[in-house]
């Protein structure tokens, strides 16, 4: 930078090269991001306005793919499933995560050990989680068969085979996998709260419940924000878990936008429609992520 410039007024090629070195080192990344992120986004965006089928085509057909997309029943199902899944997943994860964080924040013996147990599912692949829960929830061999074997012979739990209820099994497995992570985020938030305020409130005679409702939980707002952003973006991207747990079925009962995009693009050869659905996924995520990144990066300046 400036120091080498003043020390070496000759400005030979070698010096100039040395000055440019940081940018040269960064340039492959810039090129990669420009092509493989933004270039590819533009490419897919373009395809969503063409009549691409099994292969990309460049014939412009305007908004037709989008119009068709919203007429397809499976897309309707996928979107309403995403709303059900997303709302339940985010709400339950936040509630459970907050509860666990508060419980763990009471000077627990072996806290580290318990935390490790609550959080380990995050280290697993969604495919592994899917396989475990697929058979655990399977009425033939799983929980239903086990409880019946214990003597309650009319017990029924066949949500995974029931097209009305199957989407909730995705919620069950996804909450199991991520709630420990939300717990860790809230726990970090709790640990950041100033003890003095709490002591003062306690001396003033505030009950524990009031303490949490009035002081602690409002201060967790940033943790809630992060949890919401992370969970919402995971919900929209959910693909692996659905594939492993239900394969999108029974029928199309657990189809989500991510599985819809994949099957329309690669197995049904409707690449234009698949691209349009990907664009809508991107727009939804961008609406959540961009404001978040914006505020985070501006704060740091």
């Amino acid at each position: 930078m400036s120091i080498s410039e003043t020390a070496n007024p000759r400005g030979s090629v070698v010096d100039r090269l040395r000055d440019a070195l940081p940018k040269i080192v960064l340039s492959p990344t810039v090129a990669i991001v420009a092509i493989f992120v933004y270039g590819f986004i533009l490419f897919t965006l373009y395809l969503s306005f063409t009549n691409s089928r099994i292969l990309p085509s460049f014939e412009w057909i305007g908004w037709q793919n989008y119009e068709n997309l919203f007429r397809i029943r499976a897309w309707d199902t996928a979107v309403s499933n995403l709303v059900i899944f997303g709302v339940l997943y985010i709400t339950i994860c936040c509630a459970l995560g907050l509860l666990l964080a508060i419980l763990l924040d009471q000077r627990i013996r072996a806290e580290g050990f318990i935390r490790t147990i609550y959080l380990y599912p995050m280290a697993l692949s969604f495919i592994v989680t899917g396989v475990a829960w697929k058979w655990f929830l399977d009425p033939g061999i799983g929980i239903e068969a086990v409880v019946r074997g214990w003597g309650w012979t009319t017990f029924e739990f066949n949500w995974i085979k029931d097209s009305q209820m199957a989407i909730y099994t995705i919620v069950i497995a996804a909450v199991w996998q991520t709630s420990g992570f939300v717990m860790a985020m809230f726990l970090a938030g709790l640990r950041g709260i100033d003890n003095e305020i709490l002591k003062a409130a306690q001396i003033d005679g505030a009950s524990t419940l009031a303490l949490y409702r009035r002081i602690v939980i409002p201060q967790l707002r940033p943790a809630f924000m992060s949890a919401f952003v992370v969970l919402a973006h995971m919900a929209i991207k959910s693909y692996d878990l659905v594939i492993a747990l239900t394969g999108g079925g029974p029928g199309t009962a657990t189809e989500l936008p991510a599985t819809f995009m994949y099957s329309y693009t690669f197995t049904r050869n409707q690449m234009g429609i698949g691209a349009a659905s990907a664009v809508i996924m991107l727009m939804t995520i961008a609406a959540i992520i961009v404001p978040y990144l914006w505020s985070e990066l501006r704060e740091k300046k």
Partner: protein, 290 residues
Amino acid sequence: MADAPAKSSFSLGRVVLYTLLFFFCIYYLLPLYVMLVNSLKPLSEITAGGMMALPKDWTVAPWLSAWSSAQVGVEATGLRPYFLNSIIMVVPAVALSTIVGALNGYVLTKWTFPGATILFGLLLFGCFIPFQMVLIPMARMLGLMGLAGSVPGLIFVHFVYGIGFSTLYFRNYYAAFPTELVRAAQIDGAGFFRIFWRILLPSSGPIAVVCIIWQFTNIWNDFLFGASFSDFDSQPMTVALNNLVQSSTGVKEYNVHFAGAIMAALPTLLVYIVAGRYFVRGLMAGSVKG
């Protein structure tokens, strides 16, 4: 927080508290227990409604079958070749993205230039996009590069989309590193790489561990890229496991499926048990501090 009065450690409240915590431990451990015990019992015990019971007849046959003889897709190879694929894929992808991330973090904090923050923001956004958005052009690009359906192709894809997060880690870490030390070394005549090598790198141990664990876990667990860009003989472990479970015709060998699932989980689980602290740090850095 953590200032609840702990006068008597034997009050009713404490008992309820510990009971609740214990209950949730069971909730989280249950699926792991189910996988483990059922991978060690004969199929007949599972189909007879004994999923929750310990094996009566302990056996490692399901493990042997899942590893070397189970039907995965069309061939009865077991999961072994795919486990190896995953290892061959993960090691270079993690190494490359971590090295590039470290250099990027160094440039973005110690050699900043106008627009660096915007550039970093654009880079970060790339971490969060739904990868459905890049599947079609990437499939074409891999074809053009002659890497379609191969392990090197997967390495390349994971490297490309791993750069964002590794840059994020190193940038946030190096931002807290005293810039005066770098300036002082510059005045002493040390160059760009020398400063990186001698001054920043020696203190980068913790963040390197965080980054490597994050990338390892993510890439090992990936399914979407593996399913989109691999052929029968270049599939990673997650894709092969899914094929094992979904496509088995005839009798469903649940015990083999569970054994296979544990095999797929084992590498990341071991890393988590050994270095959980760093894993959690990576998770938090990737979320709380976008």
